[in-house]
Subunit: 300 residues, 2 copies
């Protein structure tokens, strides 16, 4: 199987109640590709400026990530986001957002990217998501994610992408906003009517729910005693979820449930350090160990 | 085994975003005894006024609840609470609270109540909880619950009761208030240091966590599409939890986990109708059916 991920590779400045980090590497594509790399060899589609560190690109390659679809714009500046978390790690404020090289980004996919088994349209504008969709032969699975900004500003384009989506990832706030429904069970079921075969609602410290027409799965989050930096948890969840599905190559109920647990595993590991730091030392055995711990944690 | 429950039997006036009910039967003892009655024959200690409906007392008896410890004060008025829920069923405001017969309540336990295997000190003042504790031969399990009001106004008495407690039930807000710790995993572990062998943190729609020194269990809440009246969910959880433990007669890890699932079962059933209405038609088979559904819902 093969997994193509389209999203942002960025610099993030992050402030938490305890600390601040300036211009560390982040972005939806970064986190989801790193998480997926524990299960498969993801191909990424993204854009960066000349300021993007070569050491980070080398680290991506070492993790088995295919960078043929990563455009480096000469003289360009990499997408920049600055955010601040309060005491509730599920809440954050965006302080600054510079699109930079993303302003005029219209990716042309390398030939080797055009027949993916799984295509993940991570958090980028819905128009860009459609532009990518138009370049691929219908994949077995199209997955997507989005954010509040696009739900509010481009609802029609988003609805079109959603109709072509098999797996939709949303956090609780996004699901409520999309459906105008506070109850997450009802929200999840409503979202199923808009296209996807699977709706994955991520509830941060409260875990996740996976909806399909004939099954509902609930998984608690790993019990974290401390969150260093919540950034990238949702992207890591989606990346691990899809990476695992790409590895097993089927959509059986048991595979989907295990995919969601692996999503929680990578999300909980990511937030143990700032940015992508945790990935620099993370071993496959750590991933398996946490999978077993979560399984034991929720076993009746 | 035997289970004695001490708490309030009350009239509640309840307002939700959809409806309002005046002076329906409620109270911590009521809900926990009804929930426990699906597993054992609880004995209750509480006080009501002459205005308390004989039909309700008859219903309690029919459910196998021992009423020898229920004092009826001639000419007295039953405890009254009025509350309002907003869109978030986990949040509520107390609009009015009349202690009435609870003002001078100093229960004397019937002889048949003084050697319980499990004693549940449900939500009443800590001084009253101590007064009851002093009248019983050390039970195998002392369990307790409390509310924000007593955490704020009687912290010392509460700490004394907690030191004598084996199982402490708290919701997320109470756990944070008790420990001044936002992270619930840390809050749960801190509470374990104050006496209890088990700390049960109820998170409403997000499920529950059960802490012991060497194990941690997380269970999702039953996926409710609609909540009619959240009142009594926490008390029903505790009642079912303890009722189940009373039935199985041991504190094995597997028993504790099943007890927590049954807690979630009765909590989720209770909120499907106003007050204790759901209990009037609830069959043991409904309880088993929901247990199996939750098990399937969280099974990996």
């Amino acid at each position: 199987m093969s997994l193509v991920i389209v999203g942002s590779v960025a610099f993030d400045t992050i402030e938490t109640p305890e600390a601040r980090r300036e211009r560390i590497v982040g972005g939806s594509c970064t986190y989801s590709a790193l998480a997926a790399s524990y299960f498969t060899k993801p191909k990424i589609v993204a854009v960066v400026g000349e300021d993007f560190p070569k050491t980070t690109a080398a680290f991506f390659k070492k993790r088995g990530i295919d960078l043929k679809g990563l455009s480096v714009i000469p003289g360009g500046k990499t997408f920049f986001w600055e955010g601040r978390y309060g005491d509730d790690p599920n809440q954050r404020d965006t302080l600054r957002l510079d699109l930079n090289v993303f302003n005029n980004f219209q990716p042309t996919l390398p030939a080797s990217y055009r027949t993916p088994d799984i295509l993940f349209l991570a958090n980028i504008g819905p128009a860009l998501q459609e532009h990518v969709l138009a370049q691929v032969k219908r994949p077995r699975i199209v997955a997507m994610d989005t954010i509040r900004h696009y739900i509010e500003t481009e609802p029609e384009a988003l609805a079109r992408v959603l109709r072509k989506t098999d797996i939709y990832f949303a956090n609780d706030e996004e699901a409520r906003l999309m459906t105008n429904e506070r109850n997450l069970i009802r929200a999840g079921r409503l979202l199923l009517e808009r296209g996807p075969r699977l709706v994955v609602l991520k509830k941060g410290e409260h875990g996740a729910l996976v909806f399909s027409r004939d099954s509902l799965f609930g998984i608690m989050a790993h019990p974290c005693e401390g969150v260093v930096d919540p950034t990238g948890a949702g992207d890591s969840f989606a990346g691990a979820f899809l990476g695992y599905l790409d590895r097993v190559g089927n959509l059986r109920v048991s595979s989907i449930r295990r995919a969601a647990v692996y999503g929680g595993v990578l999300a909980s590991l990511t937030i143990e350090d700032f940015g992508i730091e945790r990935y620099k030392t993370l071993k496959p055995a750590d991933v398996e160990d946490r999978f077993q711990r979560i399984k034991k944690f929720v076993s009746i």
